[in-house]
C-alpha cells in the first residue's frame, strides 16, 4: 500500500503536468478586453492538482496518511482476480456492444456474470438475461425513443419497429 501511494501520487503528478501543458495551448493569463483566457481555468486548477500531489508525497514521506503507513498489499490476489473477471467482463460488455449491439451484449454479459461468476441455476440466469434486454428495449427504444446501438443485429429489430410504429 505504501509503495502504491507514492506511485499513484507520481502518476497523478504526471497527469497534472500533462493537463497544464494541454491547457496552455490556450491563453492562460488575462486578455485585455476579453477577461481571463480559455486556458486560465484548467491551467491553474491543474496546477492545484500538481500542488496537491506534492502535498500527498510530503505526507507519504512523513508517513502521515493511513495508506503510507499500511503494510497491506494494494491489490491482493482476490482483488486482482476480481478486477480481471468483473472489470474485464464490463470491458467486454462495451466492446461486444460495438458488434452485437447493446441488447446482444447485455444478454451475453448477464449469462456470463449470473451463471459463471454468480453460480446461479440456468433457469434463473436465462430468465433474467432474456427479460432485461426486452424490458430495456421497450423502455428506451419504444417508450423513450432513445435508439440504442444494435451493431450487426440491426435487421432483427426492423420488424419490431414496424410493429410498434
Amino acid at each position: 500500500m505504501r509503495r502504491a501511494e507514492i506511485i499513484t501520487a507520481g502518476l497523478m503528478a504526471l497527469l497534472s503536468i500533462y493537463l497544464m501543458f494541454k491547457s496552455s495551448e490556450l491563453e492562460i493569463g488575462y486578455v485585455k478586453g476579453e477577461g481571463p483566457g480559455g486556458g486560465f481555468w484548467p491551467f491553474w486548477l491543474s496546477a492545484g492538482m500538481l500542488i496537491s500531489t506534492i502535498w500527498i508525497a510530503i505526507n507519504w514521506y512523513l508517513r502521515k496518511s493511513p495508506p503510507s503507513q499500511s503494510t497491506e498489499k494494494y491489490l491482493d490476489s482476490y482483488g486482482l482476480r476480481m478486477l480481471m473477471l468483473v472489470g474485464g467482463g464490463v470491458t467486454a460488455l462495451i466492446a461486444v456492444s460495438h458488434i452485437l449491439g447493446f441488447y446482444g451484449a447485455i444478454l451475453l454479459f448477464l449469462i456470463y456474470y449470473i451463471r459463471y461468476l454468480g453460480r446461479h441455476s440456468w433457469p434463473v440466469t436465462l430468465s433474467i438475461a432474456i427479460t432485461t434486454p426486452v424490458v430495456t428495449f421497450l423502455f428506451f427504444d419504444i417508450a423513450m425513443r432513445i435508439v440504442l446501438p444494435k451493431g450487426y443485429l440491426e435487421p432483427l429489430f426492423l420488424p419490431l419497429y414496424d410493429f410498434f410504429f
Binding site: M1, E5, T8, M12, L19, K22, S23, E25, L26, Y30, E34, G35, P36, G38, G39, F40, W41, P42, L45, S46, G48, M49, I51, S52, T53, W55, I56, N59, S65, P67, Y74, L75, M82, L83, V86, G87, G89, V90, T91, L93, I94, S97, H98, F102, F109, L110, Y113, I114, L117, G118, R119, H120, I128, T132, T136, M144, R145, I146, L148, P149
Partner: protein
C-alpha cells in the same frame, strides 16, 4: 385575496377526475424516468410534451407538472437503492442515502427522501405564493460574482468539513473542475483539452459520464473487493408497520428539511443556479451546522432530508424567474416555457399581470401534484426495496448494465461509455488509497456554472479579484468560504497549542 381565489380555482381544477387520472399517470411515469440513471425530469417532460396535445391545455400543464414532480422524487430512488445518482439533482442524496441503505434501512432512507421532497415542495409553494414578485427582484441582484462566491462556498464545505485527507480532497475537486472544462470553451468557442484529438472530447464530458463511472462502475468494483464478494444487502422489512415507523422516524431529519427547503428555494430562484447547486449546498450547510459533522456520509438522516427537500424546493423556485421574468432557471423549466408558448401564453414580466388566473392556477396544480407525488412514491417503496433483496450476484450485473445503458442514453455516444469505464476503474483504484471521489463529481457538476461566472466577474473588474470581497452580497459569502477552507489549518494550530495532544489514531 384575489391570489387565494385563483389558487383555490387551480386546486379545484386539478381535482377533476380526468386531471386526477392524468396526475397519477404523470407522477408514476415521472418516478420511473427520474429513477433511471441518465434520464431526468428534462427527458420526461421533453418526450411527453407532444403527448399533451391530446388533452385540453390545462390538463396538459397539470400532466407536465405531475411528471416534473414525479421525476424530482424519482432521482433519489436510484441514489439510495443503487448508489448511482438518478440525476444531477440527486448527487448529494447518494452521500448518506447509500450508506443508510447498506445498513439495512433503505426503507427509512426512501421514506425520508419522499417526505423531505414533499416538505421542500410545499414550503417552496407557500414561499412562491407569498413572495413571488419581490423575490424575483432580489434574485436579479445576484450577479456573476455573487453566484461564483456561492459556488466557492459549496467547495469550501467539502474541504473544511469533509474529514477526508485534505490534499486528496483538493486533488479530487481540481480534477473534477478541469474535467468540466473539456470541450469547446463557451466564452471564446475555442476547442480545449481535446486529448489526442479525439472528436468525442469536443462535446465535453457530461457530468453523468463521471458520476455513473464513479458511482456505478467504480463503486461496484470497490464493494465487491471490500466485501470479498460475500455481499448481502441486509433485507429491509417490508411491512406497512415498518413504513409507518419509518414515517415517524423521518421527523428526526427536520433540521436538514428546514435548511434544504428554504436555502433550496432561494438558490433555485437564481438564474443559472437551479436545483443541483441548491441540493449540494444544502447538504454542505446542514453538515456544517450540525454538532456531529463526522456522522455525515455514514447514513445520517439529515444528509438525506437536506438535499431532497432542497432539490424539490429549488425546482419550484426555478419556476419563479420563468413565470415572472421569462428566464427559465433550468432545462426543464425551459421546456415547460416552450410548452406555454405553444398554448399561446406569453411568458415574461407581463404574464403575472395579464394571466394571473393561469399563473396561480399553475401554482395550485403544483400543490396537488406534490401531494400525489408523495402518495405514489410511498406506494412504490416496497417495489424498490424488493429490488434490493435480489442476490448481489444478480443485482451487480444489472447495475453494470443499467450504468452502461443509462450512460449511453444521456449522451448517445460510445466514446463516453469507454470514458465512463476508464473513470470507473480509476475511481476504484484511487478510492483504495483513500482519495474521496464525491468532490470530483460535485466539481464536474458545478464547474460549468462556476467558470463563466469567475471569468465574467474578472472581466467586469478588469482582473481584480477583490471584486469577490468588495460587493455587499458576495463579500460575506467569500469570507465564510475562505474561513472554511482554512478551517483545517486552524484546527491544527489549535491542537498544537493544547498542552497534551490527543493520541493519534
Amino acid at each position: 385575496m384575489e391570489i387565494l381565489g385563483h389558487l383555490s380555482d387551480g386546486i379545484f381544477t386539478a381535482l377533476e377526475p380526468l386531471n386526477i387520472a392524468l396526475m397519477l399517470v404523470g407522477v408514476a411515469l415521472g418516478l420511473f424516468i427520474g429513477a433511471m440513471p441518465g434520464l431526468g425530469s428534462v427527458n420526461g417532460v421533453a418526450i411527453l410534451l407532444p403527448a399533451t396535445f391530446l388533452v385540453p391545455p390545462t390538463s396538459a400543464m397539470i400532466f407536465l407538472a405531475a411528471i416534473y414532480y414525479g421525476a424530482m422524487y424519482g432521482g433519489a430512488i436510484s441514489s439510495i437503492t443503487l448508489g448511482i445518482p438518478g440525476a444531477s439533482t440527486a448527487v448529494a442524496t447518494t452521500f448518506d442515502g447509500r450508506p443508510m441503505a447498506l445498513k439495512g434501512r433503505a426503507d427509512l432512507a426512501l421514506v425520508t427522501a419522499a417526505v423531505a421532497s414533499f416538505v421542500g415542495g410545499t414550503v417552496a409553494n407557500v414561499l412562491f405564493t407569498a413572495f413571488a414578485p419581490p423575490l424575483a427582484q432580489v434574485a436579479l441582484d445576484f450577479g456573476d460574482p455573487e453566484i461564483f462566491a456561492l459556488m466557492l462556498l459549496a467547495f469550501a464545505t467539502f474541504i473544511g468539513l469533509g474529514g477526508d485527507d485534505i490534499p486528496k480532497t483538493l486533488f479530487s475537486i481540481c480534477f473534477g473542475l478541469v474535467m468540466a472544462a473539456v470541450g469547446l470553451d463557451i466564452m471564446t468557442g475555442e476547442p480545449r483539452l481535446v486529448f489526442g484529438d479525439i472528436t468525442g472530447f469536443m462535446h465535453g464530458i457530461n457530468f453523468l459520464v463521471l458520476a455513473i463511472g464513479v458511482y456505478g462502475i467504480g463503486e461496484m468494483l470497490w464493494t465487491i473487493d471490500s466485501t470479498r464478494g460475500e455481499m448481502t444487502m441486509t433485507g429491509a422489512v417490508l411491512t406497512v408497520r415498518g413504513i409507518l415507523r419509518a414515517i415517524k422516524e423521518t421527523a428526526k431529519g427536520w433540521r436538514g428539511m428546514t435548511i434544504g427547503s428554504f436555502l433550496g428555494f432561494f438558490v433555485g430562484i437564481l438564474p443559472a443556479a437551479g436545483a443541483t447547486p441548491g441540493s449540494l449546498m444544502s447538504y454542505g450547510i446542514t453538515k456544517m451546522l450540525d454538532k456531529h459533522p463526522e456522522s455525515y456520509g455514514k447514513g445520517n438522516i439529515n444528509g438525506i432530508s437536506a438535499p431532497e427537500s432542497a432539490n424539490n424546493s429549488a425546482s419550484t423556485g426555478a419556476m419563479l424567474p420563468m413565470l415572472t421574468l421569462g428566464i427559465p432557471g433550468s432545462p426543464t423549466t425551459a421546456i415547460l416555457l416552450g410548452g406555454m408558448v405553444i398554448w399561446g401564453l406569453q411568458p415574461g414580466p407581463l404574464l403575472f399581470a395579464n394571466q394571473t388566473e393561469f399563473v396561480w392556477g399553475l401554482v395550485g396544480w403544483f400543490y396537488i401534484s406534490n401531494f400525489f407525488a408523495l402518495i405514489v412514491n410511498l406506494a412504490f417503496i416496497p417495489l424498490f426495496i424488493w429490488m434490493l433483496r435480489m442476490p448481489f450476484t444478480v443485482l451487480a450485473p444489472m447495475i453494470f448494465v443499467l450504468s452502461i445503458v443509462g450512460g449511453f442514453a444521456a449522451t448517445q455516444d460510445m466514446h463516453d461509455i469507454w470514458l465512463m469505464l476508464l473513470f470507473g476503474i480509476g475511481a476504484y483504484l484511487l478510492r483504495k488509497l483513500d482519495y474521496p471521489v464525491a468532490p470530483a463529481v460535485l466539481a464536474i457538476v458545478l464547474g460549468p456554472i462556476a467558470e463563466p461566472k469567475l471569468r465574467q466577474s474578472l472581466l467586469f473588474s478588469s482582473g481584480d479579484p477583490m471584486i469577490f470581497l468588495e460587493r455587499p452580497i458576495a463579500g460575506p459569502i467569500t469570507v465564510i468560504a475562505i474561513f472554511l477552507i482554512l478551517l483545517p489549518l486552524f484546527n491544527l494550530i489549535w491542537k498544537k497549542m493544547k498542552p497534551k495532544p490527543a493520541p493519534s489514531l
